[in-house]
Amino acid sequence: MRSMKKIFVLLIAAICMQKSFAQHHSVFILSYPIAFPMGDLGDYIDKQSFRGINLEWGKEIKPNLIASLETGWNVFYKDVPEQVYTEGTASFSGKQFRYTNSVPIIVGAKWVLKSSNNLVPYAGLGLGTMYSDRSTDFGLYRISTDAWQFCVRPELGITFKSRNGPAAMLGVKYYSSFNSSDLDGQSFLTVNIGVVFPYGL
């Protein structure tokens, strides 16, 4: 619900501010994502992640259109207090330590709204793959599953231009991957705070 509110606020911001994006040909975006697990991932680890990094390279292919290549790393973790798990006649009890490492690799496009002031909103859509590595430590045992899954990633954001050099950015990205044989689709939403470095003038 909180995430929905953020999307809404950013959407309003995007409509209100008609500004132009950087005049440079290429950008490198380094951002820090705070990730909120959803769906199957949220059922497994219902705790937001403050562990992650996101890297993105963009190239202007039209005045308002940027082609981008993105990768990143999000670490989800939760320790589950001791509880009893029952399957048929068997019962297990113990603590669980649950981990999911997610690495998206996304090719995408960003549409940048023209604006004359320093706030530049953008919206993007990406397609690619997401590598997920899920491990559960239970007692002295570890149960692991990993999968490469097809992934879509819409995003919304704003950049705050400075007169010279890098711009700051605030954005929301939603990653949703599709079921594969070993693992259900994993999805999460990230709020990214970062820096946009223009280069290749």
Binding site: L30, R51, I53, T89, S91, G94, K95, F97, G139
Partner: protein
């Protein structure tokens, strides 16, 4: 300026990622596991008496070996055995069971054993040396022809295994003894006898708590 900032942010991100990696289990009892399973066709509610030996055996291998020829296995030390058996008896009694002598026709017999394993790492991944050795490729390994070197590092893990046997079925002359309830308490066998005993006692309580069908 931009380059400096990039570098600074790069370093910051590295610190952030390495410093905040989730740490997982911290204490020995974080690794404790209690497993129970039972025969759903056995009617526990109609059984009330049990017999239990006054010793806990040590299982030392798949096959019973008797090097000293006394027809008995190795036993767990009497203090540790008493701590385990007292806890089991306490739970059995509070679940409505009555202890009887093994010759007094008990409904079930409870057998308690322990196993410990020392897990050692002397066969670490040879790829640790891949950076140095010329002409080595992933997937290769190494071996110690005819001997094992002393271990590099390791830990001792242990289990307490409790089996509840249908004593009446034994009397009927069957060849195989039906184990109607089994319980495995597994964890690290590290940290001193008294702390291990305390953990095992706690795990016995949990084993009975997660087996409500044993309650009358």
């Amino acid at each position: 300026m931009a380059i400096k900032l990039t570098r600074l942010l790069g370093i910051l991100s590295l610190v952030l990622i390495s410093g905040c990696y989730p740490k997982g289990a911290e204490f020995i009892d974080d690794l404790d596991l209690v497993y129970t399973n039972y025969s759903s066709s056995f009617d526990f509610s109609s059984k009330t008496t049990y017999a239990i030996p006054d010793s806990v055996i040590k299982i030392t291998g798949d096959i019973f070996s008797d090097p000293d020829g006394d027809h008995k296995p190795s036993f767990l030390g009497p203090a540790s055995a008493a701590a385990i058996l007292d806890k089991i008896n306490q739970n059995m009694v509070s679940n409505g069971w009555t202890e009887v002598n093994k010759f007094s026709n008990p409904d079930v017999i409870v057998l308690v054993s322990t196993v410990t394993t020392t897990n050692v790492y002397w066969y670490y991944d040879w790829w640790y040396w891949g950076w140095y050795y010329p002409g080595w490729y992933p997937g290769w390994g190494w071996y110690y022809p005819g001997y094992y070197p002393p271990y590099v590092t390791g830990y001792k893990s242990g289990s307490v295994f409790i089996q509840m046997v249908d004593a009446k079925a034994v009397a009927a002359g069957t060849e195989n003894v039906p184990v109607i309830w089994s319980c495995i308490l597994n964890g690290l066998a590290e940290g001193g006898t008294s702390s291990i005993t305390t953990r095992v006692q706690g795990m016995i309580d949990k084993a009975f708590a997660q087996s409500p069908y044993l309650k009358h």
